[in-house]
């Protein structure tokens, strides 16, 4: 796989340099930014393959960056990288269009793999994100607009459960006797359903979940 061009967006310099060191063996870091405005400028200038995006930023949050560059560069993918494990933070950035979410405690190899996967157009689920999504759909978000769209298929549920249990795509494929490509398709489908599901219900769910 060719080296993906990456922009790192995080308001903590230590984190940026740490991430850069971590992924520099497999990726080309072409820019970095510490706030929303700079991030949008750098991304529009560099046209990176992947943006590693912190959920919380000065001058707006992660979703603001995605919305700021939306429509201007379709080829750029976003991967959320955060210490926050609050459900609504994570869901908000996914809904804005991020292709995945990993926590900052992720192992180096896993982070590189995640960047490459996102660069290739696939979705990246950390176990925690898989748990959030399962939780969201387990509460059976009613979808008045389009009931079919918001339901997960049994296979998708199965894939999510294995992701939440810590399985890698490859292991899931072997266990379910399907190809890795199929696993990726399921993951992307789940992501799309999450992005398209009823906004109001979802935020209500996230709100409820944080209270519990």
């Amino acid at each position: 796989m060719s080296r993906p061009r990456v922009v790192v967006v995080d308001d903590h310099e230590l984190v940026r340099s740490g991430v850069k060191t971590t992924i520099s063996s497999a990726c080309e870091v072409v820019g970095e930014a510490a706030d929303v405005e700079t991030a949008i400028d750098v991304i529009c200038e560099q046209h990176p393959d992947v943006v590693l995006l912190d959920v919380h930023l000065p001058g707006g949050d992660g979703p603001a960056v995605i919305e700021g560059v939306n429509g201007r560069m379709v080829e750029t993918k976003f991967l959320a990288l955060s210490v926050s494990d609050a459900a609504d933070d994570v869901i908000a950035v996914i809904r804005a269009g991020a292709r995945g979410y990993v926590t900052k405690s992720i192992a180096s190899d896993d982070l590189i793999a995640a960047v490459q996967r996102v660069a290739g157009g696939d979705a990246v689920f950390s176990p925690r994100l898989a748990g959030f999504v399962l939780d969201a759909f387990a509460n059976n978000l009613p979808a008045p607009d389009d009931p079919d769209l918001d339901q997960l298929t049994n296979r998708e549920r199965e894939v999510l459960r294995l992701l939440a249990r810590g399985y890698a795509y490859k292991e899931i494929a072997r266990r379910l006797s399907i190809s890795v490509k199929t696993v990726e398709t399921h993951a992307s489908a789940v992501l799309r359903k999450l992005q398209l599901s009823n906004r109001h219900e979802l935020s209500e769910w996230a709100h409820r979940r944080n209270i519990v």
């Binding site: 192992a107 925690r128 898989a130 939780d135 810590g166 399985y167």
Partner: protein, 414 residues
């Protein structure tokens, strides 16, 4: 608070000058406030004192009002040398002037009325203002070298005495009181004087106490935050700095600290309570992680009350985590729990060395008893999947009690 603002205006920094004094330094202090030479004030006091005696009263009042100051730091005379002092002084002079005018043009306003009234007013003002000042000072800076509480109390008492005395004198001089009524009237006068003085004072005390309490709560919160940060974060940081030769230990320390800080920040007291499945599982994982240093990621979907079955399930899951941490040599353990309709499933997975379950099950009591036996006794099940070199996964399933599962189903079908 309007009360406090009012005080700022009414109680100027009238500071006696211990470095420039004839009697008490009050004149010099007043001169500082008014921006004139001390000699002017002294002459004014002496002149007024000779002319009818209230130069003396005025001086006494000013003295009681003033605060001792430290000539070295000189902080008092620098504190807000604003217009309030001048205003107060001016108001005092004008009042006395009006009193004399009244004496001259209003025959009823004779000495026997004027002087008791003046004494009463001065006492009243002193008692009220000093009383407020005292509490304010104690709350703000108990050790700032302001006059002691005892001195303040003495001033309040003096003010009180003057007030009551003024009342009594006013009555005694102006009414032809019979022997029988005298005591009653005196008692009434004293009560009225006390009420007059203590009414506003008590009000201000209550206000000050409320403020004081608020301040104390705030500072206690700050202290708690500081203590927490010190005990945990700073200690951990210094530990990490010293254990640079042991990365695993550093990771362990950092993770434990992160977890503690999170739980403390969220204020949910998550660690140590296991009323719910989620809390219980996270607590168990945290304990194992602390003891063995292997990071454990816990993902929980749904939640359930920790009844007898769930507690057994949690103990079994804890045992599985312990085994993984002890034997697997994996870099990370993933724990996933899902509350489905009617049952709870927990998966404990590592990607470590693995083992042959058939070969080991007979001689390892931890697995057979703590996990399998425990689950089966309460109607659950446990499956251990492992192969040498491929890691291990323990699958635990426990049916929920009927009440709990009803609740989950209601939530699920909504």
């Amino acid at each position: 608070m309007t009360d406090t603002n009012r005080l700022r205006l009414l109680v100027p920094a009238l500071a006696r000058r211990s470095d420039d004094r004839v009697l008490t330094g009050t004149s010099a202090g007043l001169a500082d406030l008014c921006g004139v030479d001390a000699l002017v004030i002294r002459v004014a006091f002496v002149t007024l004192g000779i002319a009818g005696g209230f130069g003396i009263a005025l001086y006494l009042a000013a003295y009681l009002y003033s605060l001792a100051t430290d000539p070295v730091t000189g902080t008092q005379q620098d504190v807000e040398p604003d217009r309030a002092g001048e205003r107060l002084f001016g108001v005092g002079l004008v009042s006395f002037g009006l009193m004399f005018a009244a004496r001259a043009f209003w025959p009823l306003f004779v000495d026997s009325v004027a002087w008791p009234l003046a004494v009463l007013a001065v006492g009243f003002v002193i008692a009220v203002e000093q009383g407020q000042l005292q509490l304010k000072d104690l709350g703000l800076s108990p050790d700032s070298g302001r006059p002691s509480a005892r001195l303040m109390a003495a001033r309040v008492l003096i003010g009180l005495g003057l007030t009551v005395g003024g009342f009594v004198a006013l009555l005694a001089f102006n009414f032809d009181i019979g022997e029988i009524n005298e005591l009653v009237l005196a008692a009434l006068a004293i009560i009225a004087g006390i009420a007059l003085v203590l009414g506003p004072w008590i009000g201000s005390v209550t206000g000050d106490l409320v403020q004081e309490k608020r301040r104390r709560i705030r500072s206690e919160e700050r202290a708690e935050l500081a203590a927490q940060l010190h005990d945990s974060v700073l200690q951990t940081l210094s530990l990490i700095q010293r254990s640079d030769d042991d990365p695993a230990r550093m990771v362990q320390l950092a993770r434990r600290q992160e977890r503690e800080l999170r739980s403390w920040l969220h204020g949910d007291g998550r660690l140590g309570h296991s009323e719910r499945l989620r809390e219980g599982l996270e607590t168990a994982a945290a304990e194992v992680e602390d003891d063995h240093g292997t990071p454990i990621d816990v993902v929980v979907v749904g939640d359930a009350t920790a009844d007898e079955r769930v507690r057994s399930l949690l103990l079994a899951a804890r045992e599985a985590m312990l085994n993984a941490a002890r034997h697997s040599k994996a870099a990370r353990i993933d724990v996933f729990a899902e509350v489905a309709a009617g049952s709870v499933e927990i998966y404990v997975r590592d990607t470590g060395v693995g083992f042959d379950p058939d070969a080991i099950e007979t001689d390892r009591r931890g697995v057979t008893e703590s996990i399998m036996g425990r689950m089966k006794r309460l109607g659950g099940s446990a499956v251990i999947q492992s192969n040498p070199g491929e890691g291990t996964e323990v699958e635990l399933e426990m049916p929920l009690s009927s009440q709990e599962s009803t609740r989950v189903e209601e939530g699920g079908t909504r």
